[in-house]
């Protein structure tokens, strides 16, 4: 595009749809305000003017208490009554997302064909100007944020539409959409913020919405616990993010992305400062993106409604850490040690979570551990400086994992309806209660198989391309890159990378196995739901299957976004070219300028190994697993041996509880509070000195006894003492 000389200096996007970038987050915020008000108005029942006069009488209020109880209990027994504002909420909730998606597409159209080497920054106002610290409320559009915006609003719209069906009977319908809209607002802020503090606003904001949505059915303690756990564990990561920002400001004096990128060269390459910044930042990522050691909150987060798991805990929020590293690629490419850490932790997490996924019975838990594992892949990608590949896997994963979660949502929805019809209170998410659902839900079955093949890495589905690119790059980097020049925990960088590669392959094998297992147990073999329930099992309504179809198509063809050079099935390296202005320099720095090293034969071989492993995994599962041998949950025996360890997730939660939570609580209670505060400070010093004062007073009062004889004795002793003192010091 030719820049008009009159507007030289202005960004080429300045006069396009991009100037309305602020509308992107504002639209969902508006949706939140509308739905939130509706939610509050529909349940609010104002109290009496004088609460103390009304007291807390039982008789007067019992009626409506019972009524409230009924309306809020998320049991199976509530009557299916649509919320009175369901119409307007169904319009506003998904509507604002659709509008935002439309705007995103318009901005995307304006951006393609424009030289995007400089980001388009739209400054709204000064946020925290203090001395030399300048933090603006500014939004930044560049190819990377554009990709994220399209994923968030696109997949987000589909999930919102799906929710209209999934949540239709819920008494908290407007509240649900209010939270979901608020989440999208913060998520867009996260990817559009032009500086780290603003990104952090979105970062904590999505965490907050995640907290609210995990605990959406708050009347059950387990749900409320899970929400709280998610927030607190994330806060541990946020602590790291905060320290990274302090380090950045103390060393560079800036916190905006453009400034950091421009000034990063002032930091010594591979030095302690840049390594520390990156490691603290990565601590933040382990929280938000559920990596070892902070992954523990994500499986529990499945307590929320299933579309929430699809949107927040699979497609968008949990990938924020990957986005953060891609966004900070300049810094990470200068810190090989930190980058290796990212890759190693990612690979370990990928394998570790995949093993747990092998033995879960709850369909959502399988997908949760799968998500943790796939996020590990993304971190392997951005860790070895394959920023494009990391983001590529983020995008394809958003497609197929959203599809898997929504598909599981459709299954759970069907199971729920069946159990509801027969007043059965069995577990609607346990795969041992499913089986043979293919007959009842053919559309969901087909689509979920597409997603399964995609995640397993079978060509030509989307996951194959992105996963292969990550693994291929790991192999290439092990041959020659700045990462091989450092030692990590005493190991040469290249050794670490080979290990990462092997771990990646092993996880790919396990992924194929546990996903096939999930499909077999859910859809194949005989049905175990129950004879009375079977007639009620049916496909979900079209408002739910429609979005699944769209995601199915995306999962099938998403790989075309970034075809490798080897497979000339269309324009190759599309995403890589698109992201080049953002991550190109960093990628070049980490690869030592070698680009795609290695011979083509080598690459073909790598692809062959990856596909063979995926096929092997699927075949193994198909041959070895016998869905016909399964019995419903209630009749199942407890597992033993290593299977039990896996089923209990290696007892990590229990270990954290014993090693961290209990000690902190006990120390706080018995040492700090009852010991130091109540015992020493208050008991000994404060009340002790009061006691001492009282004792002195008592002594004094004893002296004033009124007995002249005593006075005379005291007088005499005093005179002698004084005289003695005088004579001595004379």
């Amino acid at each position: 595009m030719i820049i008009d000389p009159a507007s030289a200096g202005a960004h080429p996007l300045a006069a396009t749809a991009a100037q309305f970038v602020w509308l992107l987050p504002m639209l969902p915020l508006l949706g939140f305000l509308i739905n939130g008000s509706l939610a509050l108005f529909s349940v609010a029942k104002l109290g009496p003017d004088d609460p103390s006069a009304a007291g807390h009488g039982h008789d007067a209020h019992d009626d409506h208490a019972a009524h409230h109880d009924d309306a809020h209990g998320h049991g199976d027994d509530h009557h299916v009554v649509r919320h009175k504002y369901a119409g307007i909420v169904s319009l506003v909730g998904p509507g604002v997302l659709l509008l935002a998606f439309g705007l995103a597409v318009a901005i995307f159209a304006a951006m393609s064909g424009v030289d995007m080497h400089a980001p388009y920054v739209n400054t709204l106002f000064q946020w925290m100007p203090v001395g030399d610290l300048k933090i603006d409320a500014a939004l930044q559009l560049d190819p990377l944020s554009m990709v994220m915006v399209l994923v968030i609003t696109g997949v987000g719209t589909l999930i919102h539409i799906f929710s209209v069906g999934y949540m239709q009977d819920d008494p908290g319908y407007p509240r649900y959409f209010a939270y979901l809209n608020l989440f999208v607002f913060f998520m867009l802020l996260l990817v559009l913020g032009a500086n780290y503090p603003l990104l952090f606003v979105g970062w904590e904001g999505v965490g907050l919405c995640s907290y609210l949505l995990i605990g959406f059915w708050f009347s059950e303690k387990a749900n409320a616990d899970a929400g709280k756990k998610a927030f607190i564990v994330n806060r541990i990561g946020d602590f790291g993010f905060l320290v990274a920002m302090f380090l950045l400001f103390a060393n560079l004096g800036v916190l905006d992305f453009a400034g950091v990128t421009a000034n990063a060269a002032r930091l010594p390459m591979g030095g302690a400062v840049v390594t520390a910044i990156c490691l603290f930042m990565f601590l933040g990522c382990t929280g938000k993106s559920a990596q070892i050691p902070l992954y523990v909150w994500l499986p529990d987060a499945m307590a929320g409604p299933t579309p929430v798991s699809a949107l927040i805990h699979a497609a968008t929020m949990v990938t924020a850490g990957v986005y953060l590293i891609a966004r900070s690629s300049t810094l990470f490419s200068m810190a090989p040690l930190a980058s290796l850490t990212v890759a190693a932790v990612g690979a370990l997490t990928a394998l570790f979570a995949a093993t747990i996924g092998l033995k879960q019975w709850d369909i959502k838990k399988v997908l949760a551990y799968s998500t943790v594992s796939q996020l590990g892949y993304m971190f392997v990608g951005v860790g070895v400086g394959a920023y494009t590949a990391g983001v590529f896997h983020l995008v394809t994963h958003a497609f197929f994992k959203a599809l898997l979660f929504l598909g599981s949502g459709a299954v759970i929805f069907a199971m729920h309806r069946a159990y509801h019809a027969t007043h059965n209170h069995d577990d609607a998410q346990d795969m041992r209660n499913m089986g043979g659902l293919r007959k009842y839900m053919p559309v969901t079955w087909t689509l979920m198989w597409i997603a399964t093949l995609a995640i397993a890495g079978i060509p030509p589905f989307a996951g194959f391309f992105s996963k292969d690119e990550i693994l291929g790059t790991v192999f290439t980097r092990a041959h020659g890159s700045t990462l091989t020049e450092v030692t990590w925990l005493g190991l040469p960088g290249s050794t670490v990378l080979y290990v990462v590669y092997v771990l990646g392959l092993a996880s790919a094998l396990l992924t194929a196995i546990y996903m096939t297992r999930m499909m077999l147990y859910t859809f194949h073999g005989p049905n175990r739901t129950g004879d009375a329930e079977q007639p009620h099992l049916a496909e979900a309504p079209w408002i739910m299957t429609g979005p699944l179809v769209v995601l199915g198509i995306a999962s099938a063809v998403g790989g075309w976004l970034n075809l490798p050079e080897l497979l000339k099935l269309g324009p190759t390296e599309g995403l890589a070219h698109w992201l080049e202005p953002v991550v190109g320099a960093a990628t070049a720095r980490i690869s030592g300028g070698e680009g795609h090293g290695g011979a083509e034969v080598n690459e073909w071989m790598l692809i062959g190994i990856a596909v063979a492993i995926a096929v092997a995994g699927i075949t193994f599962a198909l041959v070895r697993l016998k869905p016909a041998a399964l019995v419903p949950k209630k009749q199942s025996p407890a597992s033993e041996g290593f299977a039990r360890v896996l089923e209990n997730k290696y007892f990590v939660d229990e270990a954290y509880d014993a090693a961290v939570i209990q000690p902190v609580e006990q120390t706080s209670r018995y040492v700090l509070w009852k010991g130091i505060d109540v015992g020493i400070i208050d008991g000994l010093f404060v009340n002790g000195s009061a006691l001492a004062a009282r004792a002195m007073g008592w002594l004094g009062s004893q002296l004033q006894s009124g007995q002249v004889g005593t006075y005379a004795w005291v007088l005499l002793i005093g005179v002698i003492a004084l005289l003695g003192a005088f004579t001595k010091y004379r």
Binding site: G47, P51, S52, D132, V201, E204, W673, V686
Partner: protein, 528 residues
């Protein structure tokens, strides 16, 4: 707006009026509700009359004070709206008052919170109402006087004036252990401030004026009296002790949980939101600028930074295990005020500005928290967290607002709590990285204690029959919380106007203390 204020001569009368109005109101309420009580009036009649009178006085006070927002020009150094009258000329004591940006924000916090505090106790204060409202008004004069005084004796007078009404408010209208709590509060703070009085007298006698009379003027002592380092150290210690008790800094904090728990709602609100700020204000106005060499002495500074960080972490951890919600908030105050002290002693522009911001946002958030605890206490007569559970199902409005306030207390970005803490920490990291990192762990503990408590109060199953009949907030309660919620969001999203008001005073403080008091940067005499 500024022209309008000038045409009214606003700056010439506003401060004395703000001090005098509550006193006049106190007299009015006492006369009407006690001395000239109509023969047939019942206690309920008196309650209705006095609370309305008090509300109107405080609303008028708040409206009048709003002009200060425009009349303080943050760009220029110096005192605004100064009034300087002779008081006890032979002893060199003057009635000298004036404000800068920092004092103005604290004054506005006070005047805007007082009507809300009155509304908070609207129906729960039923006995001796005339005396109660009169004491609230006298207390207001005392608090405002502390922020305005520019004469050390006058400052001390107001400082002690606050003590008596609060002692009585806790002791008469408080909970079961009110006598112990009020006595502890009184003695603790009294002992703390006695040495300060000695130090003030010493300072006043040090460099007598033209007629040989002592001189207690703040500017005079700041600019003309030169102290050697030993003098500074002793005087600093005397001032600092008084302020440390008030802040409260660990380990002088144990009066706070008791006082908070036993005080009636308005008492807790004022105590937490305003009176705790007296301590930090004391450091900002007196202890740091008057004795910069002592305050920045390496050991002294390390001591205060350490105590601040201990307060931050210790307060948060102890808050975690409190069974009583009011006590939990009290310990969270210890933690938050630790951030203020950390920011002040780290002494960078960002950390000091952050400290001032934490001061204000703690006032708003904690004030709101105590108001809301008061609201459920009025219904259920218990503050124990374990007595609640699942009440979001019956009181959705209460639950929503409580969630917002708790998030602000945790410092979630987008709320006021984040701005202050972030600025303190990022500023502190520049000079004291280790302390900043330790303090930053509080973001984890804060989330833990607040969300755990929140869960046990509003989430979880609604089992207890007493809670099933709980009524939601009424119009008055919602109306009084809305301004606070608005402030929480406004200060979080667009804190710039607030930061601007205190910017000049804050950077002046940093320069002055850094240079050991030698920089020609003190607030110069206002040219009138």
């Amino acid at each position: 707006m500024t022209e309008l204020l000038n045409s009214l001569g606003y700056n010439h009368w506003i401060l004395p009026v703000l001090l005098g109005l509550p006193l006049a109101g106190a007299v009015l309420v006492l006369v009407r509700g006690w001395l000239l009580r109509p023969a047939g009036a019942t206690d309920a009649d008196v309650m209705v009359q006095t609370r309305q009178a008090a509300l109107w006085v405080f609303i008028l006070e708040a409206v009048l004070s709003l002009g200060l927002w425009w009349s303080v020009n943050p760009g220029t150094a110096g005192w605004t709206a100064r009034v300087d009258w002779a008081w006890i000329p032979n002893w060199g004591i003057r009635f000298d008052i004036g404000v800068d940006g920092i004092a103005t924000m604290l004054i506005l916090l006070t005047t805007l919170l007082m009507p809300l505090a009155v509304l908070g106790g609207w129906t729960s204060i039923r006995e001796k109402t005339a005396a109660y409202y009169a004491l609230l008004m006298v207390l207001t004069t005392g608090m405002l006087g502390v922020f305005m005084a520019l004469d050390l004796v006058l400052f001390y007078t107001f400082w002690e004036l606050m003590l008596v009404p609060m002692y009585l408010i806790i002791g008469v209208w408080g909970g079961q252990r009110r006598l112990y709590a009020s006595m502890k509060f009184f003695v603790y703070t009294m002992v703390g401030s006695l040495l300060m009085l000695v130090a003030i007298i010493y300072l006043g006698l040090l460099l007598p004026g033209g007629n040989g009379q002592p001189m207690f003027g703040y500017d005079y002592i700041l600019h003309s009296v030169h102290l050697n380092s030993t003098q500074q150290l002793w005087l600093f210690a005397a001032f600092a002790l008084a302020f440390m008790v008030k802040v409260p800094m660990w380990p002088f904090h144990t009066w706070l949980p008791d006082a908070h728990v036993e005080a009636p709602t308005a008492g807790s609100v004022i105590l937490a939101a305003i009176m705790l700020k007296m301590g930090t204000f004391g450091f900002i106005r007196y202890a740091l600028p008057l004795f910069p060499n002592a305050a920045m002495n390496d050991s002294v500074r390390a001591l205060f930074l350490t105590l601040a960080v201990i307060g931050i972490v210790y307060g948060a951890l102890v808050a975690l295990v409190q069974p009583d919600f009011k006590k939990l908030v009290a310990y969270s105050s210890v933690s938050h005020l630790g951030f203020v002290m950390l920011g002040l002693f780290a002494l960078t522009t960002q950390s000091v500005q952050g400290a001032l911001m934490v001061n204000l946002s703690h006032g708003v958030s904690t004030g709101a928290l105590f108001l809301m605890i008061g609201m459920v206490y009025e219904r259920r007569h218990t503050r124990l967290i374990a007595d609640y559970g699942g009440i979001a199902a019956v009181t959705p409005v209460f639950a929503t607002l409580l969630t917002i306030v708790c998030l602000s207390s945790i410092g979630v970005p987008g709320t006021n709590g984040f701005v202050g803490e972030f600025l303190v920490l990022i500023g502190t990291y520049r000079t004291q990285p280790v302390f900043a990192i330790i303090a930053a762990t509080a973001v984890i503990f804060a989330a833990a204690y607040m969300l755990w408590a929140l869960q046990r109060i509003i989430y979880n199953p609604l089992i207890k029959p007493e809670n099933k009949g709980l009524t939601d907030l009424n119009r008055r309660e919602i109306a009084l919380l809305i301004p606070l919620i608005a402030a929480i969001v406004w200060m979080g999203v667009y804190p710039k106007p607030v930061l601007e008001k205190t910017q000049a005073a804050a950077s002046r403080l940093v320069r002055h203390v850094e240079s050991g008091g030698n920089a020609d940067s003190g607030p110069p005499m206002e040219i009138r």
